[in-house]
């Protein structure tokens, strides 16, 4: 169980890791719906506030790119993507709340490619809980969590859920 302090610290960690690595070239932070967008927003705020840096911001809805469409009883609610900058040649940092199997990131990369050909794509996650099913690794990690494959990691964020918390529900 984690609260607002740990999550705040996690975002700080992410921000400083990214900052270390950034050149002066423009960068775009793209959050994956849902909650990845809220992490991305916070990250953006951190990066833009401390330096005088132009950071583009975008949101990606990967519902249409999921690979489990046929297995769902009803389709995920579509909210749409919002990428107001030119994806062609851009340096993009994809942001999500939790990295687990890697399937969401696979879908996000496909979705991104349909907007154009980015120059570089990196991956930043607030929490890495392990158990990948695809060859995908993050470039920046805020918090590392040891979990069992069947555990549920429940992340709540202020704007989306009304509070900042992380809960690990053990598989019974």
């Amino acid at each position: 169980m984690m609260g607002p302090d740990e999550l705040y610290q996690g975002v700080q960690t992410l921000a400083s890791l990214i900052r270390e690595n950034l050149s002066d070239a423009p960068v775009a932070i793209v959050g994956i719906r849902s909650r990845g967008d809220e992490v991305a927003e916070r990250l953006c705020h951190e990066l833009a506030s401390e330096e005088d840096r132009e950071v583009d911001f975008g949101v990606l809805d990967i519902s249409l790119y999921r690979d489990d469409y046929g297995h769902l009883t009803s389709n995920p609610k579509l909210e749409g993507s919002d990428l107001s900058f030119d994806v062609e040649g851009a340096h993009i940092i994809l942001v999500d709340d939790v990295l687990f199997t890697g399937r969401t990131i696979r879908a996000a990369l496909d979705a991104l490619a349909d907007y154009g050909r980015p120059g570089k794509v990196e991956l930043a996650v607030l929490i890495d809980r392990g158990h990948r099913e695809l060859p995908i690794q993050p470039d920046y990690v805020g918090i590392k969590l040891e979990t069992e494959r069947k555990d549920h990691v429940l992340v709540k964020l202020e704007n989306t859920d009304g509070e900042d918390s992380v809960e690990i529900v053990k598989a019974s």
Partner: protein, 311 residues
């Protein structure tokens, strides 16, 4: 979570949740049209069968584009258009369709109620693309989507539907959906095309001037089918245009009053409306065509065939 809907057969059977979901999701689909790649993989590996017993290039291609942009495989099932195809023979067709293991069937047929009949015989999602004078639900959805783009809060807006209400599935479905969304609807046309019995709860006008006193926000013109004149529903196209068409003078009045114009297409210029309407700043006709693809993508995406693996 609500129960997934298999078919889209008419507007009456849709819940408010169904309607809101489809209309809300039409927007993100429309946004995709501005990308360089307009296609998404949502229905990759799914098959959509076009079963059109009535010729229709517009609706057929709109559905085709919608399905292809969702990455579905699209097949046109070749059915005879000329002869009246009876219900009996569609039952025979079903066996063939089942063998093709199609996931979605988009059907247009001259017999009202036939898509519903088809839906009871197949696991595939059935989308009614028009059944006689009964229903055309995706047209209604695209109309509602278009209306909401102009009036995000559409409640109590007034839409005047003009023309052949009696024979129009568009009038039925669109008026039903608009009313479900809190839009006020009225009909205008001669008594032969808008008979008193048709919808007791909808205000009915038989004169254009009276209808304008009702102060509509949108005038929705129905297409005039040329065969109605031959069947003596009205004496001539000229007279129809004079009585119920949007003439140049009427267009000026509408422009002054800020009234929008809609039409399901294809337009008979000089009958339902004059040539100038094509350049009218508040004509939503082209927007309706584009929205048709988005609304149909949203509908396809919303429905859930019972064909695939289920959890």
């Amino acid at each position: 979570m609500s129960v997934a809907r298999k078919d889209l057969l008419d507007i009456e059977s849709l819940s408010r949740e169904d309607i809101d979901s489809i209309l809300e999701q039409a927007s993100p689909f429309k946004e995709l049209f501005t990308r360089s790649v307009k296609k998404v993989p949502a229905l990759k590996g799914k098959s959509v069968l076009m079963l059109f017993y009535e010729p229709s290039t517009r609706t057929l291609s709109s559905f085709e584009v919608a399905a292809k942009r969702l990455s579905a495989d699209v097949t046109n099932f070749d059915v005879p258009h000329s002869s009246v195809v009876k219900g009996e023979s569609i039952q025979d067709t079903i066996a063939t369709l089942q063998a093709m293991r199609t996931d979605y069937i988009v059907v247009r047929h001259q017999m009202p109620g036939l898509p519903a009949m088809l839906s009871r015989m197949t696991q595939a999602s059935v989308i009614n693309a028009g059944d006689g004078a009964h229903a055309h639900p995706t047209q209604a959805l695209l109309d509602a989507f278009t209306l909401k783009e102009v009036f995000p809060d559409q409640v109590n807006k007034r839409v005047l539907i003009v023309g052949d209400v009696l024979h129009s599935r568009v009038a039925r479905s669109t008026s039903t959906l608009f009313k479900k969304l809190g839009v006020e609807v009225a009909f205008l046309g001669p008594g032969s095309l808008v008979p008193e019995y048709c919808a007791p709860e909808i205000p009915r006008f038989t004169s254009y001037e009276d209808a304008m006193k009702w102060k509509p926000d949108v005038v929705y013109l129905l297409r005039v089918q040329m065969e109605r004149q031959k069947a003596q529903f009205f004496p001539s196209l000229r007279e129809y245009h004079q009585l119920f068409g949007i003439t140049s003078e009427r267009l000026k009045q509408l422009s002054d009053a800020g009234v929008y114009i809609m039409h399901p297409g294809p337009v008979n210029r000089g009958v339902e409306l004059c040539h100038e309407v094509m350049e009218y700043e508040r004509s939503l006709i082209n927007q309706q065509v584009e929205n048709g693809i988005a609304a149909r993508m949203a509908a396809l995406y919303y429905l859930k065939p019972q064909t695939g693996t289920l959890t």
